[in-house]
Each structure stands twice: as structure tokens, then as C-alpha cells.
Symmetry: C2
Amino acid sequence: MQQHTETEENYLKAIYHLSNVTISSVNTSSIATSMSTTSASVTDMLKKLADKELINYEKYKGVKITRKGEKVALNIIRKHRLWEVFLTKVLKFEWDEVHTMAEELEHVSSDELIKRLEAYLDFPKFDPHGDPIPDQTGKLEINDQMSLSSGDAGVKYTITGVGEHSSAFLKHLAKYGLKPGITVSIAEIMEFDKSMLVKVNKEKFHLSLEVSKNILVKKYGII
Amino acid sequence: MQQHTETEENYLKAIYHLSNVTISSVNTSSIATSMSTTSASVTDMLKKLADKELINYEKYKGVKITRKGEKVALNIIRKHRLWEVFLTKVLKFEWDEVHTMAEELEHVSSDELIKRLEAYLDFPKFDPHGDPIPDQTGKLEINDQMSLSSGDAGVKYTITGVGEHSSAFLKHLAKYGLKPGITVSIAEIMEFDKSMLVKVNKEKFHLSLEVSKNILVKKYGII
DNA sequence: TTTTATTTTTAGATTTGTCTAAAATAATAT
DNA sequence: ATATTATTTTAGACAAATCTAAAAATAAAA
């Protein structure tokens, strides 16, 4: 069933993620950056993935993921996110600690294992970072969230996710106790730099635009 | 901490297991057989493991695992067996289904993950096949069990483990409902071929010597 | 529309783990 | 004790994934 190497799976995952950020096709160098490797290595791999019909690849023209490739990518993402839920909910890891472990666990091949894990976790729809978990067929619920940076002063919001997944960013949020599920209200928005003062459980602190941009929320009460 | 490849880990595990069966040093061809590969490949790997001081290797003289190599092997075995407990106890897999999945899971590197898993499972001392689970330092409880084949007619025994782990053998036992925890009494031992008639919950059936040899038991009541 | 700069691809090496076939060593049998 | 057989190691090759450096193609600027 899963006739792909771990490396191929990782490339597909990266291409899938980049496809959701890029308008047209994904270019070689952006894949190289996101995989921390060289463009030459990426080109080699693109040929291999194209041979397997997981991507459409035209020399010098970049890459588009195929339906088939997308299904493979979504299955890896499904595993990754379910393992993240397991690690936080069952083994009580913090949400900013689980990514690396899930990167290894996502390549464990058994689909039956992941089906049972999903049932054991009671069919969660989102991972600890608020990202949706694809079902077996690759379908995923879209969480219609907005960026905290586009919120209004005086309004209460519930954090539903993050727009950036780097360990540095997550640990920064963790320091303030900010994570999905937490309620924040915007106390004041500074005109000159769009930074904001927010209130969380009586505590107030300052968030730069860079940070508030990457905090995803819904209006409080609307779930 | 774990600077070894998955392949190196698998070789070490195989060598460790063979060391427990062999009197003196482990020879190349037995490793090749147990790894389903060629002697040439084994020789190549032995050099690499010797360079890392995980084994003592003398050309043409076979191999002895070092203290350091044993620690690595025991850590893999620890992970393997804890994951097997997780798969059976938590995800409700049958004891004869979990080996292959555990072979993948055992290479997930995080020691913290396995520590938490162990605690979550309430520090099990044996895996679903009755094999002891090493602790963090590599120590393991020895289960002083005997082979059912050396049992006496008219006596009741509790199954504690198996002496052979092939899927074929485990599925054969599963068919009769035989697995660790089950109580069997020996109804009769046939003189001519040492086969035996056993009783399990009112049902009687016949076990060949080949099978009874590989069923490990304790006298009923003695745990 | 040339020239320049950037991006992408090729060419050729390297590393890991594997293989087959041949050579070297050890074990066994006469 | 020597010949035969079996085991183990070497030699040389290959596939996967990577790299650096150079060539080719595309995009941007003059």
C-alpha cells in the first residue's frame, strides 16, 4: 500500500504544505529551504516523484502535486496530527514539545494502527496546534478562523490555532500561557506599529504584530 | 545519545538474541539467516559495529556483543516490548498481531517518550508474549518458567510465555485460545512421541512435542 | 533587447546498505 | 596429513539520497 520511502513522504508533505501557501506551482528553491537541503538534491527527488506520478513536474517550471500525491501527503499529515493528540492528551506532553516525536511516528506504516489510535482518542478533529486532522479518505474540516491581528479592541477571542509552527514561536507563546483553548481580549491596539495589549486571566501583556499575526482565533463564544 | 542507524540497531538486536541461544560467540551465517540477508552484508556491518565498539569482532572467529552494545540492544528491546503492551492493552490488538508494528515503533528515538509510555502503562514487567521488559538501565526481571513439555500429567499450569515468536506459531496457538495467562492441565502424555493431551476450559486438545516445547509455563497458583 | 543576475539542472562524487562471484580461511573426512 | 567441504571475507558493483561545482535556462535590469 505505502510503497514510498520516508524521504519521499517528507518531500510530499513539504510540497503539499507549500502548495497551500503558494498561488501557482511550487519552485525548487522553496522546497530546498523547507527541507534544509540543496536545490540539486530537490531536482533529483522531483524526477523520482514525477516518475511515480505523485507530482507534475516540468523542468524549470516548478511542481504541482497530483491528486495521488495529495492523498499520500494527507495520510502522513493525518498520522502526524493524531500522534500529536496522543502525545499531549494521553502522555501529557506540552503542545510545543510534540512536533519532533510526531515527525518520527508519522512514518510508522500501519493504517490499522492509526485507525485504532483515532478511535481510542475519540476521533479528534484538530491537533494541539489547532490544525485539522484529515480522515481516512483525506477529507479535513476547515476551521474558519481569523488572525488575532485583525481583531478589534475591546473584543474577546478564543485561540484556535497558530499560523507558524516553529519551536521558537511555540515556546514564546507557551511562556505567556497562550495556546488553543485560551481566551484573550484585546485591551488596546497601538496605532503606530499595530502591536496590541491583550488580557489573559487578569494578566496583561504586549504582543508585536509579528506575533499577533500568527495567532489564530475565533470570536469568543462562537465555536 | 542514540547515534546509531535503524539497521545497526536491528543487527545489534539480532546479535543480542543469538548470544542468548549460543554458548560461545555468534557466527556470521546465523546473523545472516536471522536478518534474511547475505554473509557478505553481515561481514560489512560487523566491521562497522566493531569500529563503534558495540561488538568484539575477530575475522573468521565470530562475534561477541560488548557491554556497550548490549545496552543499546536492551534499549531497543525495551521499546519494542513496551509498544507491544501498548498495542494490546490500549489499542486492543491481539498478541499475535503486534510484532511487526512494534518493529517500526521501537526505532522512534525519544527516551522521554518511552519513559512516559511506560508510566502510562503502569510499569509492566512483561510483554504480551511473556518476555521481560528491561528497565531504563537495562535490567530485566527473569521469569523462572519451564517448558510445558517437561510438565507432568495431572498437573495444572499457567502459560507465562513462548519459546518461539514466529507469526505462524503464534497464530497456531491463538487458534486454540492459548496465550499467556491461560491455565492448562495436562490430561495425558503419550509415551511414543511425547505429544500431550491438554485441557483448557473443559476443551481438550492434542499438542505435539514441537508445540509443547515452545509453550512456557509455571505451576498453577505459583506466580 | 542585450546584458546581468538568479534559479535550476546536470555532472560527477560520496555514504550507507546491499548484492554476486571469487578468494581466503577454517573445519571435516578420508 | 592431506584433500574435500563449508564458512567467511574481499572485490567490485549497484541503488538511494545526498553533496559541490559547473553548465544551462529563465527572469530581471540596463
